[in-house]
């Protein structure tokens, strides 16, 4: 029976339904197993001593006093690490354009390059004692000049981030397509400006953390991690510890949010593993929030100098872009983050020509890597803001100028023009962008907004509306895999290394599997986020798990379904076409008492010692599939935000937030709605609150939740989500990623709405976050430009 035939039999009960999450019960009763909740006997605890300077040379480290402190078991400096761990971390995503491959050391040997860089590692009886010991380690630093601004960093006279570097430029990436000179010819209308976004961090509510245990009897090393990418962490541990790949296991139980930064391999993971092996006791490290501010990966600080060429009617002819990316002190994901950013620029619009000059720059600040949105919020901010400006210049309505430029659904698949970072043409697979915007505008009552605005003004209120569109490449390769196995007890297990940080993957996988095997969810178990569950995997980021793992579960479950039917037909001496399946029972349709349970079949498939299988019967009722996407599945969306600005205080209140969202076929709309609402909250934070600030010496000055504000309950409105479901033709389920779409257009739409509310021809807002204080200053000064 081939997959298509068996699909016809599937009753499709769970896919598409608002199934309640199976993850919830334990979490609601306080029975989750986050990494710090795992209690192993004899565990030692640890603390990291970090550099207080943005740039310094280490002259001497004195640990005498600290090592004498009762309860201290070991103190590691760079020289104490195994030779394999004295190397710099591997760069998992190399690129020929990178002129200086400067990744982090596990512990700094001679030079520290950002505040928070690990210098020493203390292992002790308790976290309290480990922190005591850190406070009495004496480090003699020679303070070096630091660079903290990525634009300044490119000047000849600016201090070097790394003393061995020739300059602060990491890579220069020119990218272009189309006839750019033609686009910018004399008859073009040209609109130009410079946009920027601040630094922030993802701030999952659970900080980073690791627990390592070495089993002496088997030489097995197990690491529990609050991470996103089990197999990537395993691969790095193998390198850093020079370890037998078959004797190392990375497990991620419950993880308290990720949003990007937990996909990075951090020094502390190697440190707990090294110490656990040395001391032959489990070793745990749990980050505190201040450390997360210093050493957790950050994002968004970029400068976008964008020129848009248009026809007199407002049709886009081309874009020239100079983008500078503040990478921070060390490389983590190569050029991926800024590359995603610039290639996101055209979005849902026909842009016939583009010319990009991308510069990646080292600074003595915390390293960057993707945070929910991954460079796209900046691209959408620059593109949508310059379109707003063009609309103003040409006196066209902001919705109209977008409508005029949309790629039409009949143009799909659409070749954008770029060669993507995988070396292939960047091609949108599907989507209906005009419809998405039009439905969102309808839901937001855009047509009648100007009347509302006029009425509000009569009563002294300032309301505004903003629109922003995006297209996001999701479900990227190379693969993720899953095994579906029917057990001898009749239960079905899904095994995968894909790790969840709150996205409800287990429930999603169970729904997909249940429909293929016509069983209820309570017959299914999921083992996930464990490198022992399946031999290969990548990780959870870039909205890829439902596409990659979801389709792997689907294909594997379909194959298991075929195996069940084949074996049952053999045992019941009938044709497959005579059989039906329900609730773990396979039976002859016309004679239901002739049946076999999943348990019966699983036992037969396990074989009897000494007996060969008859022809056509294979061992095991299981199948493993790795879904290999050929390219990204592109989701898209439109944010329409209506808000009110209190011009006395600069406070904003969001009155209506509409999100048109097309992530293809929805497996669980309850979960997808939750992803959108949560992602929008993150975007509201970026637009109005979150600001990771450094002083000129690279010293971070926002290192707690009082100084760095996350959106709280009263800052986030209800988001009205309008779903479109344009299935991706690139995977059997037709799904696309859904975790980041809410964040990506948020800042662009919100800032546009604020500007619209101010209704002042002299105010054009070009950066984020637009905090009440900054807005107040702009209102007070009301100068010709709001650029800082």
């Amino acid at each position: 029976m081939d997959i298509l035939d068996s699909k016809l039999l599937s009753k499709q009960a769970y896919i598409g339904s608002r199934t309640l999450r199976t993850e919830d019960k334990a979490l609601l009763k306080g029975l989750g197993q986050f990494v710090d909740d795992i209690k192993l006997d004899n565990t030692l605890f640890s603390s990291v001593l970090r550099s207080p300077h943005a740039h310094a040379r280490i002259i001497d480290i004195n640990i005498t006093l600290a090592s004498q402190l009762p309860g201290v078991h070991a103190i590691y400096l760079h020289k104490d690490l195994p030779l394999s761990a004295q190397k710099r971390l591997p760069l998992n995503t190399p690129n020929a354009a990178i002129t200086l491959v400067m990744t982090q050391e596990i512990l700094a040997s001679t030079e520290v390059c950002y505040v928070g860089e690990p210098v020493a590692f203390v292992v002790a009886e308790s976290r309290y004692i480990a922190e005591d010991a850190c406070s009495i380690i004496e480090v003699d630093y020679e303070i070096l000049d630091a660079t903290s601004d990525c634009i300044e960093a490119l000047r000849e006279t600016t201090p070097l981030t790394h003393t061995i570097a020739k300059n602060n430029l990491i890579a220069k990436l020119p990218l272009s397509y189309g006839d750019i000179d033609g686009a910018f010819s004399a008859d073009a209308v040209i609109v130009q400006d410079i946009f920027s976004q601040n630094r922030g961090s993802a701030h999952p509510m659970e900080t980073r953390g690791y627990l390592a245990e070495f089993h002496k009897a088997t030489s097995q090393l197990t690491v529990w991690s609050a991470g996103q990418a089990p197999h990537l962490e395993k691969k790095t541990l193998i390198d850093m510890l020079d370890w037998d790949p078959e004797k190392i296991r990375v497990i991620m139980n419950d993880v308290g949010g990720g949003f990007g930064p937990k996909a990075i391999f951090y020094p502390e993971e190697a440190l707990v593993a090294i110490a656990a092996c040395d001391l032959n006791r489990p070793v745990k490290w749990i980050e505190d929030r201040r450390e997360h501010f210093l050493s957790g990966s950050q994002e968004r600080e970029q400068y976008w100098d964008i020129s848009l060429a248009l026809t007199q009617e407002g049709k886009i002819r081309g874009i020239k872009l100079k983008m500078t990316h503040d990478n921070g002190a060390y490389l983590q994901w190569g050029v991926i983050l800024p590359y995603i950013g610039v290639t996101t620029t055209p979005g849902p619009y026909v842009v016939p020509a583009m010319d990009v000059d991308l510069k990646m720059v080292f600074t003595n600040k915390g390293p960057t890597s993707p945070v929910r949105g991954a460079g796209r919020p900046q691209a959408v901010f620059a593109m949508e803001r310059i379109l707003d400006k063009a609309a103003k210049v040409l006196s066209v309505d902001r919705a109209k100028i977008r409508q005029l430029n949309f790629i039409q659904p009949e143009q799909m698949p659409y070749n954008v023009g770029f060669i993507y970072r995988d070396g292939k043409a960047m091609i949108y697979d599907s989507g209906d962008y005009p419809k998405c915007q039009s439905l969102a505008l309808q839901k937001a009552n855009y047509d009648t907004f100007s009347q509302r605005q006029k009425l509000a003004k009569l009563s002294g209120r300032h309301i505004g509306i903003g629109i922003a569109n995006f297209v996001e490449g999701t479900g990227l390769g190379p693969f993720e895999g899953a095994t579906v196995r029917i057990q001898q007890n009749g239960r079905v297990t899904i095994l995968t290394a894909a790790a969840a940080q709150g996205q409800g993957h287990k429930t999603t996988f169970m729904q997909i599997c249940a429909d293929q095997l016509d069983i209820d969810l309570d017959l299914i178990d999921v083992i996930a986020a464990d490198t022992n569950a399946i031999s290969m995997g990548i990780g959870t980021f870039a909205c890829r798990i439902t596409v990659t793992t979801g389709n792997s579960v689907y294909l594997a479950a379909q194959n298991v379904r075929s195996k069940v039917f084949s074996l049952a037909a053999f045992l019941l001496q009938c044709e497959v076409s005579e059989l039906e399946m329900a609730n773990g029972l396979v039976f002859v349709s016309t004679e239901p008492t002739r049946s076999k349970t999943f348990a019966d079949l699983a036992r037969v498939s396990q074989g009897i010692p000494g007996f060969s299988f008859p022809k056509g019967v294979t061992n095991g009722l299981e199948d493993t599939q790795y879904f290999l996407p050929t390219q990204a599945a592109y989701c898209n969306g439109t944010a329409v935000v209506e808000l009110e600005v209190d011009i006395e205080t600069g406070q904003i209140e969001i009155l209506n937030y509409v999100m048109g969202h097309d992530s293809g076929k929805l497996i669980n709309p309850l979960i997808v709605d939750g992803q959108v609402q949560g992602a929008v909250a993150h975007g509201i934070g970026n637009a109005t609150l979150e600001w990771m600030r450094y002083d000129e010496q690279g010293q971070p000055i926002t290192t707690n939740f009082g100084e760095y504000l996350l959106p709280a309950s009263e800052d986030v409105p209800r988001v009205s989500v309008v779903h479109l479901e344009t299935p991706s033709p690139l995977n059997p389920l037709g799904v696309k990623g859904a975790g980041e779409g809410g964040t990506i257009p948020a800042a662009a739409a919100i800032i546009s709405a604020i500007e619209n509310a101010l209704d002042d021809p002299n105010v054009f807002l070009k950066d984020t976050p637009m905090t009440p204080q900054r807005l107040f200053e702009i209102l007070k000064n009301n100068t010709t430009s709001a650029h800082h």
Binding site: L27, L28, D36, K39, Q677, A681
Partner: protein
């Protein structure tokens, strides 16, 4: 380190322990009693994930020392379900409204909202938002938590009406 003898009731069970004078209440609950449902998200009193009920009032267990809880009655997330182990109305509403994703802030949300519902069975959306304004959540965008609380409150109100009154 000085050890101090304390006696506390946690989720209706009595505990007597010698604790370090500097041990925080949250560490005591998590490490000494093994009640790991209470989470530390910031350790500086802002995120609210560590909120427990101390004599029925919500407190930050990262900002209190264990010794300060001596003689108190504490309720943690582990003590919120019904006696038979089924989910409380609030917990049930949380799963129905998808009011948790990663679940890390959930202990603080549930304890804070349990306090709210003990004082006000008819909260408005604004009152719920105000009650959890000191509890950070990075996953849900809060609205589902508000919806869950309103739902739980309505069910609790129905329950609190005597059955005779419903018949009329």
């Amino acid at each position: 380190m000085d050890k101090i003898h304390i006696k506390v009731s946690v989720n209706h069970q009595m505990y007597e322990k010698d604790v370090d004078s500097r041990c925080t209440l949250g560490d005591f609950l998590r490490n000494d009693l093994g009640l790991t449902g209470t989470h530390y998200g910031c350790e500086h009193g802002v995120c609210g994930a560590c909120t427990v009920l101390l004599n029925s009032k919500s407190v930050r267990s990262c900002l209190l020392l264990a010794v300060q809880a001596n003689g108190s009655e504490i309720t943690t997330i582990e003590g919120l379900a019904n006696d038979d182990g089924t989910l409380s109305e609030l917990q049930q509403a949380f799963t129905e409204c998808h009011a948790l994703q990663c679940g890390f802030c959930t202990p603080g949300m549930l304890t804070t909202l349990t306090e709210l519902l003990s004082e006000n069975l008819s909260p408005t959306e604004a009152q719920v938002k105000s009650a959890i304004s000191g509890n950070l959540c990075r996953c849900t965008g809060y609205q589902p938590i508000v919806d869950a609380t309103i739902l739980a409150a309505s069910r609790l109100r129905d329950k609190s009406i005597p059955s005779a009154a419903i018949k009329q």
